[in-house]
């Protein structure tokens, strides 16, 4: 009997704005059929299973599988085609997003994601201002971009507690400095 994580079950159910739609999932598999990633990988990427395991609260089973193959979760390209086609209107991409948040907290993430969050924290933008591009902007007649409120972004990210998740690399950087 898999271990049931009632927090996951409750959080996933709470995601359903306007009702507990996830309980309407009857495992028809349309999400898999219309998914461009599933079409390429078959059973390796299977949103139907992800929805079922989340609805049941089988976090441990699911996360063990993600540990073996992160693609089970991170293979989602967030195109939201499944959401549009689901006959029960289950916001599958939102559930996957919730699971991604939990996976990041557990350290089960491609490095791209925490790294891109650190870029935003340190620059206020996911892609920092670049002198060469600024020159190009001036040549194109659109001038320099407006001031970026980096301090406000840093203060907000400090307050949300995300730095606890992003902190690891910083410590490493301090160590090597």
């Amino acid at each position: 009997m898999p271990k049931i994580d009632f927090n996951v079950k409750r959080d996933v159910l709470d995601l359903m704005i306007g009702g507990e739609k996830i309980s309407y999932c009857y495992q028809c598999g349309i999400c898999n059929d219309v998914c461009p990633v599933s079409q390429r990988w078959g059973s390796r990427y299977n949103p139907r299973d992800t929805v079922l395991f989340s609805a049941l609260g089988y976090k441990e089973t699911l996360f063990l599988a993600i540990k073996r193959d992160p693609f089970i979760l991170w293979g989602c390209t967030a195109c939201e085609t499944c959401d549009e086609k689901c006959p029960s209107e289950i916001p599958i991409t939102e559930i996957i997003c919730y699971l991604k948040n939990a996976a990041v907290a557990a350290g089960l993430t491609p490095e791209f994601y925490p790294e891109s969050a650190r870029t935003i924290r340190d620059n206020g933008m996911a892609i920092p201002v670049q002198p060469a591009i600024n020159k190009r902007r001036e040549k194109l007649g659109i001038g320099l971009p407006p001031n970026i409120p980096v301090d406000e972004v840093k203060a907000i990210m400090e307050a949300t507690g995300i730095n606890k998740v992003l902190g690891k690399k910083e410590e490493k950087e301090e160590g090597t400095a």
Binding site: C97, A126, V153
Partner: protein
């Protein structure tokens, strides 16, 4: 037109693809769409920071919304992802008072408050619904007759439809189609029109992203298209920049140098603007053959 929008070009356009922003501004100026800039930060990325921590993503989006609220202006986005992020964050806070309170508690630290009074709109909707096709057609001085275009409206332009409410039929979008047709160009249908550009899965598995990109180009080529037209800088980057990576999975003799244009580039060209001053030269795939077809 008297409405002035706060323009939200987003990180990618501002700091990597400024020629797309330039083309949008040329078109807005010509058509009388009012806009001004503001001190926005990252939207933040609905397929980046949102995956790391939903609350942080929401708080940063709320800060951007608050900046526009302070000026009593609506936001016009030049990017599918930015529009989607800001609209969904707004939606989440309007339907979840606890989240809204948490976010406002955080925003106090930077002296801001999110109230929920600003609307966010994608520029394609502004061009189609507010400017209107007649006005755009009247501005065309160099019709792009004969140019065959495959459309790519992009996933986050209209999905999830129950929140974004951009167009009536989300899997059969018409605004971009009509805008392209107003330039004199012809839209060709291909089965991959609604297929994702592969941007998100590229961060996890580039191979999967490349196979999606390949399907897209193969479909557009089979349909006889000369180019792709997009309304999102992120999709543009996938098609124009990442296309070079298809070399490793290309069939023998198949070359991937297919051009992509942002919709305001296409409209600006039809308005008679010079490709050189628009910055088409900054594309990786400059589409010389496609442009030659319409004497450019």
């Amino acid at each position: 037109m008297t409405t002035e929008y706060k323009l939200f070009p987003g990180c990618l356009m501002t700091n990597r693809l400024p020629f797309l922003e330039a083309s949008a501004k040329v078109v807005f100026d010509e058509l009388g769409v009012g806009y001004s800039s503001a001190e926005f930060a990252c939207c933040p990325n609905p397929v980046g920071l949102k995956f790391v921590d939903n609350k942080t993503w929401c708080a940063l989006a709320a800060r951007n919304l608050a900046v526009a609220e302070n000026e009593n202006k609506n936001i016009m986005s030049l990017c599918n992802g930015c529009a989607q992020s800001l609209i969904i964050a707004d939606h989440e806070m309007k339907h979840d008072p606890i989240l809204k309170d948490e976010v406002n508690e955080i925003l106090k630290k930077v002296g801001k408050e999110y109230k929920g009074t600003t609307n966010v709109i994608h520029f394609v909707k502004v061009l189609y619904e507010e400017v209107g096709l007649e006005k755009i057609k009247a501005s065309v001085k160099h019709p792009l007759t004969g140019l065959k275009v495959a459309l790519h409206p992009g996933c986050h332009y209209a999905r999830p439809s129950h929140i974004l409410k951009v167009e009536e039929d989300v899997m059969n979008l018409k605004y971009l189609r009509k805008l392209v047709e107003s330039t004199g160009a012809t839209v060709v249908d291909y089965p991959e029109e609604n297929l994702c550009c592969g941007n998100v899965v590229r961060n996890t598995d580039p191979y999967t992203a490349n196979t999606m990109l390949k399907s897209k180009f193969d479909g557009a080529k089979r349909a006889g298209a000369d180019c792709l037209v997009v309304n999102c800088p992120s999709c543009f980057q996938q098609f124009d920049t990442e296309q070079a990576k298809l070399k490793s999975i290309a069939e023998e003799g198949e070359v991937y140098k297919f051009p992509t244009f942002y919709i305001t580039e296409l409209i600006a060209l039809a308005m008679g603007k010079d490709p050189a001053t628009l910055g088409i030269k900054f594309h990786r795939n400059k589409g010389k053959e496609a442009l030659a077809k319409v004497n450019l």
